[in-house]
């Protein structure tokens, strides 16, 4: 652009960002509304936050969701890093196409597909072997890991590909076995990708409602399942408070991460 301020571009961008943020800003505003009705501004109040923390159903579901999210992200990072390694470093081999396909298919597959297939697997396994006895934390975690592995794989793989191979080669020239090269050289260099993968898997697991609905059982209600059942009937003020808390947490995290990355690039 020859020096002219791209007015059209800025307007279009502003419109797009406004579209992205209007609902978020609205929910935050409503969470502080004294009145339950969204049309009336009853004054500033934090009573919905108090109501949120007094709601045992929501708190229990939140604890369960956090547990499942931590378990699935950690497992997903382990498996995803192995998959990323296999795809980025091993050249051509027999199973490569299958691995590549299976690590990019869940990325675009609709959730209902992943959920219903996982559930049918568990039902069939139960028929054949007696495990799993019922559905709960373990089944949800397994399904979430399967979903998250592909995201981790992509992140780790792209980071491995960008990495300078000469460092690994130098280590191997000096006599290090492959496992040692991985843990001493590669891992310290790709750890930001592992952290990013963990956080992404964590978020996906925490947010998922469809897969969890299919693979959970009675007594294992995750937070999104509870939220979905509550919001089917319209706006609920406690959910506004919950949404605001989550948005603020994500905002802090994302800003922090962005700032850290900015500093590293200096």
């Amino acid at each position: 652009m020859n020096g002219r301020r791209p007015f059209v571009l800025y307007t279009l961008m502003a419109f797009g960002y406004a579209f992205l943020y209007l609902p978020i800003v609205t929910v935050i505003a409503y969470s502080f509304n004294e009145s339950r009705m969204v049309t009336v501004w009853g004054g500033f109040s934090t009573k919905w936050y108090a109501a949120l923390f007094a709601n045992a159903q929501i708190l229990d579901a939140a604890k369960l969701s956090l547990l499942i999210a931590v378990l699935s992200s950690t497992l997903a990072v382990v498996i995803g890093t192995l998959a990323g390694l296999a795809l980025a470093r091993f050249g051509s081999y027999r199973g490569r196409g299958a691995l590549s396909l299976m690590t990019s298919a869940p990325l675009v597959m609709p959730d209902v597909m992943l959920g219903i297939s996982a559930l049918f697997l568990f039902i069939t396994l139960q028929q054949l072997t007696g495990w799993p006895g019922g559905r709960g934390v373990d089944t949800i975690t397994i399904a979430h890991v399967t979903l998250c592995v592909c995201y981790v794989t992509i992140i780790v793989r792209s980071r491995l590909v960008q990495m300078d191979l000469s460092l690994e080669e130098a280590a191997m020239d000096l006599g290090a076995r492959p496992w040692k090269v991985f843990f001493v050289i590669t891992l310290p260099l790709i750890w930001p990708a592992l952290v990013a993968g963990w956080l992404l898997a964590f978020t996906l697991s925490l947010d998922d409602v469809v897969i969890a609905s299919f693979t959970s059982g009675p007594g294992a209600s995750t937070l999104p399942i509870v939220v979905l059942s509550k919001v089917r009937f319209g706006v609920t003020p406690e959910i506004n408070a919950l949404a605001t808390l989550l948005i603020v947490a994500v905002a802090i995290g994302v800003t922090l991460a962005g700032w850290l990355m900015h500093r590293r690039q200096r």
Binding site: F15, G95, F120, V227
Partner: protein, 331 residues
């Protein structure tokens, strides 16, 4: 262990063991191919085994169940292959589910509707997202970071909660109606929630970051001297944009569009929360057939049909991914 009725002594168990036999033989051959390195084999085997067991096998099971018939009981579908006490093997396949899909107007309409929802929303995402991606790509380092962060923030926020936020906006007495009334553009509140329009808005809103991020990544790698060359040759900015930038950003457009279109086809939450009773979608059909009607074979058939619908775009996506990854590796 659930007690096994003799009639249910499953031939599937034999298949199960045969599967593992073949798996280990395959892994052995693989190990020899990788130069005998047991470490490498382990690195490959773990993700391969996990995904084969928890991703590929379930899809095969969905196919199997789609060919069963619904019965009352646990599990609520018939066994395809039954070994009778007299040694007879009965194979019973049912295409009732698939026939229903082809003939029942509800299902035909659901598929067409889902495609329409996904396609229109993809275009909307492209129109809204391209300027943002372009602005991000052209911005200086600090502005780019801020703009990207502003896009990533909704991306990391729970999509369920963001869809819920749209309810508050689109209701009859919600924010959007209040704005329109305040601006004098309408006289009375317009029905926005529980309409197809709400579903379009919802899908576009949720998937917009998925369009912006690959597009921005692609636009950031563009060679902008080409635009300068076009300007030197006398092209006006708009023409240069249309003839140079857009074609070069096609891989990004394709990647972003697939990332929006394919998952949007199977969306359940958005049509359920934002759409009305006429917002037919495959995702809703699968959910309702499974949870409400408890008709597992029908739900499985709907899922298999949906899989067939998305398999072509998915393979395109996979091919593009693989090609881009190899291109990155070669740089």
């Amino acid at each position: 262990m659930t007690p096994q009725h003799p009639q249910q002594q499953s031939p599937w168990l034999a298949l199960w063991f045969a599967f593992f036999n073949d798996l280990f033989r395959y892994l052995g051959a693989l190990g020899r191919e990788l130069g005998g390195s047991r470490g490498r084999l382990l690195v490959l085997a773990v993700p391969l085994a996990w995904l084969a067991l928890f991703f590929a096998l379930p899809l095969a099971i969905v196919l199997k169940i789609s060919l069963a018939s619904p019965v009352a009981g646990v599990p609520p579908y018939t066994d395809l292959v039954a070994l009778g006490p007299d040694g007879r093997v009965t194979i019973e396949l049912s295409l009732a589910g698939y026939l229903r899909l082809l003939t029942d107007p509800l299902y035909v309409a659901s598929y067409l509707n889902s495609i329409q929802f996904a396609a229109v929303s993809t275009v909307a995402c492209l129109l809204l997202g391209y300027p943002i991606a372009y602005g991000i790509a052209r911005a200086g380092p600090l502005a780019r970071l801020v703009l990207l962060t502003l896009v990533i923030l909704p991306f990391w926020t729970s999509s369920l909660l963001r869809t819920y936020a749209l309810i508050g906006i689109l209701r009859t007495n919600g924010t959007l109606n209040q704005i329109l009334l305040g601006l004098g553009l309408i006289d009375a509140p317009v029905q926005l929630l529980n309409t197809n329009l709400a579903v379009y808005i919802g899908i576009t809103y949720n998937y917009l970051p998925f369009m912006i991020l690959p597009l921005a990544a692609n636009l950031m790698r563009l060679d902008y001297t080409l635009l300068e060359a076009a300007a030197d040759l006398g092209a006006r900015p708009l023409k240069a944009f249309l003839t140079v930038t857009v074609p070069l950003s096609l891989p990004g457009i394709v990647a972003g569009s697939l990332l929006v279109f394919i998952p949007a086809l199977g969306e359940y939450v958005i049509p359920e929360l934002l759409g009305g009773p006429d917002a037919l979608a495959i995702g809703k059909r699968i959910w309702d057939d499974f949870f409400m009607a408890r008709d597992y074979p029908l739900a499985a058939a709907v899922a298999v049909a949906m899989l067939l619908l998305i398999v072509v775009p998915m393979l395109v996506f996979e091919y593009v991914q693989e090609r881009d990854a190899r291109r990155e590796a070669r740089r």
